[in-house]
Symmetry: C2
Subunit: 518 residues, 2 copies
Amino acid sequence: MAARHTTAGADEQHSAHPDLAAPVTGALHFVTATFFTLPSNSDLGLRDQICEMVSSAITTEALSPDNRLPSCRELADQLGVSRNTVFEAYNRLIDLGLLVSRDRSGYFVNPIAMSLSQTPTAQKTAEDPVTPAASTPSPVHFDALDLIPVENPLNWTSYPYPFIYNQIDPNLFPVDSWRECTRLALGRTQMPAWRDDSVESDSTQLTQQLRQRLLSSRGIYADEDQILITLGAQNALFIIGTMFSHKNTSIAIEDPGFFGARNAFQLTGNKLVGVPIDAEGIVPGAIPPECQLVFTTPGHQFPTMVTMSEARRKELLDAADTNDFIIIEDDYEAEMNYFNSRSQSLRSLDTNDRVIYVGSLSKTISPGIRLGFMVAHRDIIQQARVVRGVMMRHPPTIVQEVVALFFRLGHYDSHLRNIERRYKKRWLAMQEAITRHLGMLEQSRTIGGTSFWLTGKEGFDATELGERVRERGVLIDVGENFYLNVNRRSFRLGFAFVPIKKLEEGIRIIAEEVKKLY
Amino acid sequence: MAARHTTAGADEQHSAHPDLAAPVTGALHFVTATFFTLPSNSDLGLRDQICEMVSSAITTEALSPDNRLPSCRELADQLGVSRNTVFEAYNRLIDLGLLVSRDRSGYFVNPIAMSLSQTPTAQKTAEDPVTPAASTPSPVHFDALDLIPVENPLNWTSYPYPFIYNQIDPNLFPVDSWRECTRLALGRTQMPAWRDDSVESDSTQLTQQLRQRLLSSRGIYADEDQILITLGAQNALFIIGTMFSHKNTSIAIEDPGFFGARNAFQLTGNKLVGVPIDAEGIVPGAIPPECQLVFTTPGHQFPTMVTMSEARRKELLDAADTNDFIIIEDDYEAEMNYFNSRSQSLRSLDTNDRVIYVGSLSKTISPGIRLGFMVAHRDIIQQARVVRGVMMRHPPTIVQEVVALFFRLGHYDSHLRNIERRYKKRWLAMQEAITRHLGMLEQSRTIGGTSFWLTGKEGFDATELGERVRERGVLIDVGENFYLNVNRRSFRLGFAFVPIKKLEEGIRIIAEEVKKLY
């Protein structure tokens, strides 16, 4: 460090900066080894970058209470920022109690900023840190769990034609609305509910909004104790799987079906039985009598997108009464119907409280917020709440409150109409492109949702197709992941993430590769 | 509704309000039945209350596209608010696409605000909604799960002396810091990571902060793939329980011990074996050889608050090598040590990668944010990530990002020092009051944490004590919930939530009731 100048600029002489009032001395405590640099690509403003840098230096003990920090001017010069920015950062750190300013001496680390419980130097030198070799094999060996690997490639965003599923177009996320609701949720003067540990009760506001806006549109009337907020629909399925695993029964699932449900039921220790589906949905006559639980996706069968017919719905509910089973209705993408043709939910037709209804906000708001819910008989919900408590206590309260406001102020309705319109356009573009280019494949009938299901002739291998198109920048969901037994004839095309202008080109590439396999 | 006035105020004549430009007409579409009132005790500002009211009326179809809304003036009169507030609310709803303003006619519900997929009137009249009678018993009967009911009474805040645990003093929560970090997290210009579904990877920033600030202070050096973010420590235990239940082994737990761990391991289908603890912590010699997993709380034994001795730590790690078991170290309240006496973590002494370390931010930031983490061999973490994915995919990304900023900008360090100082004061006040009033009870030795553990003589019944003091406004944690077998001699006093001025008075009341039982 250069010796302090004996003359300072006029603006400094009248400044209240303690470092400017410091006497010139030959015994400065400032350790020259602490040379600060700012990160090259930070997501923070300059003041906050300085706060981060100094705070980090205190934590890692690069700075100790014996060290004087660089003066505002020195640090400003080091970093190439304005002195005022450094001054603001130092004051912020003083407010936080991490720094103190001593008259005529400068800025120092606040001695009480060091943890009461830490005696760092003693501990540090006590012994070398234990660092097990990175290559050490685990001393306990795990059997690979029998789960279906269903993740998209980590770098899927770099593909020009990602016909994948379970992702929303990030351009559709209403960032401004979300910000406004967050600001409101955090700005309350009363004691915010979101600070507390609240296993026993969910956000009253959110529960009320779900009843008023989502459930009523599905014909479902539920009291507050018939609803449980979960960390997404996947979490609801895991909770249900945990509850039923103690009954040592079998769960019937659609085949092909939703691997997320399969994984959840399997990992919680349940036995699974596959039930075929036809053009009207799951086939009730094929449900083995020993099943006490039947998982189904009547709105849009996952993954074939078939909507369960009215007759089939009644048949299924009758079978539940006759054979004494419970139905799990996963009503995912309930909102995504484009032809005034929304089917009624099973739960709304259920006079005997045999349906556990599972819903999600991942498709309509964002999968990143992780909110879903289940509706069922209050005895089931009560037990599910206990299970949820042991699993994770509850979904973060702050997220529940923000989403409640998102509903209350009309943002959800506005956003939903917006994505419905956009997805309808894409759906129509997809249907047109598929008709034009992929006529050689069988397409399952669908009236909504955000994907299409296509099946090739006997001997067609969609898994091979997946590998071929991937090399041309196209990602598809190969069908074998959805089947309990080997079946490679089908694949799924999700269109939520592919820009509308690229849809047809993507389909054309797929068609070229299909032809080579035909 | 009153007929429209033919004269308007000067300010209105020059206004752009469409309702002011509307011609006087005898055929208004406005339906007088829609009489709006604001809620009596809303948490929102007036403009937002109006937005909520109108949005709700659209959702419930009290308003349809055929209805003209009241003019700004009419609604302002109805509600007793300023016309400008109504004008702002209407414009907000126009921005959201829920209303349209038609020149010279007024404000209407936007026809495209109605869902594409809803044909409400047809659906509504199609049949009566199904509402199962509220008293219907569940058609499926559940065996009560064998879990320990450990929740505090819902109205615990109304007790003057709530010596309960797992709650932070809400006055300590740094609301302003949290707001600032949230604002920053939401204000980013780059595509925010928190919108996406991200099972495979946690927040890089948060992982880095945990390594730099929390783990290094516990002597733990971990790579990114040795860390998993969980929805609180409870969630980490449930994930571990799920992983090990497939190995069909027994888990050794401390007795008395943490019921949250007991519940998690039991509900995931593991067999449990209790291991006694003494003044140095868990007794390794008493761990049955068939156990492949041992759960322990070495920092402050839960609930006795005993800190595991150095010798005992080495003995336990040696036993793990010899008998080939894995240790789960729940390092809760690691930060709460008040005498420069923080013990080293087991994981930091573990040369053979036999320790799964579990940490939490519930005690230091807030239980409502639900964030915890686990550190272990990368093979274990990889498997835990798969299990977490099936259980709930991942903790909400937005919460991870806000907490990362909370660390980066120094708020966490500042806040931690603050609560350490406050809790130390309370700890000392508690120790003094216990020494003064509760000398007839045995107190287990402790050097930190936020609770005390007290044991009466043979025949003393802490459960009865709990009932008696509760009638006098005092809540205590009765000890029997912590034991695998019946043992009612002990109880725990958590002091995080009782105001410091009331601590001694609360202890005095407890002492009075203890004397009656002695």
